[in-house]
Symmetry: C2
């Protein structure tokens, strides 16, 4: 059993929940997707592999994966929440191009440290950090961004 399966089964055990086949399929598929994905993509990917898991079950599994520390709601684009799995991924911030949709990831320990300090100042327990810069990427800014 791989690392993330172990984390998830332990988590479920603690919650007295079952590591069902549907949950296994969802977990494996989540970790097979290496980009930010939305629920519909996850659903379609599962369906393509001849598995059958309903959307409802997926929607119900997502909060579990998040609570288990395996998944993160990373950003929202085009009215959809996008997720990404966490697997030794360092936390990172996103530069999101509003024109072409490109997403650039950047790891910056300094930002991270500063944010942690702020949390400590307020006695705030961080569960999730989201940093995103929206605007135009180098390609799109050339084209002209005056009246989007």
């Amino acid at each position: 059993m791989n690392d993330y399966s172990k984390i998830f089964t332990d988590f479920l055990l603690r919650k007295e929940m079952k590591f069902t086949n549907s949950r296994k399929i969802i977990l494996d598929t989540v970790f097979s997707l290496h980009d930010h994905f939305d629920i519909e993509t996850l659903y379609e990917t599962i369906k393509t592999k001849h598995n059958n898991v309903s959307r409802a079950t997926i929607y119900r599994a997502i909060p579990l994966l998040i609570e288990a520390g395996l998944l993160k709601k990373s950003l929202r684009s085009l009215s959809k929440d996008k997720y990404e799995h966490i697997f030794g991924h360092p936390s990172h911030l996103h530069l999101i191009c509003d024109k072409c949709g490109k997403i650039i990831e950047e790891v910056d320990k300094d930002v991270e440290n500063l944010l942690n300090k702020i949390a400590i100042k307020y006695d705030f327990k961080i569960k999730e950090v989201n940093v995103s810069l929206r605007g135009f990427c180098s390609d799109c800014v050339k084209v002209g961004s005056s009246n989007v």
Copy 2:
């Protein structure tokens, strides 16, 4: 005419759009709300003052206010976008309590500078910055956050 009305009328003029009564009411109400607000709150606030502006008109005005640089979509909580007007407000980050919904604001120039540097590194033109820490505030962390 106050500052924000001037900015908005200039903006509308440039776009060859009209400074109608509905838009005036929306603008004034947006600037009367000094917290983060969602569309429903804005709608109810307008209705309470015996004005009548439909939800559709509000939804149509919001992107204009944003484009005019007067309003910012600042965060998303409980599946609703929350907005805040910009009126000499320095940019700031949010600490959002997932338990009680409290929102703490913090201004931090160091974070801001670091993010600007990252944008420069990628030749990225920032239109909007969003930094939010989600978790539990000092009050809620005491109560126990193990199984939310």
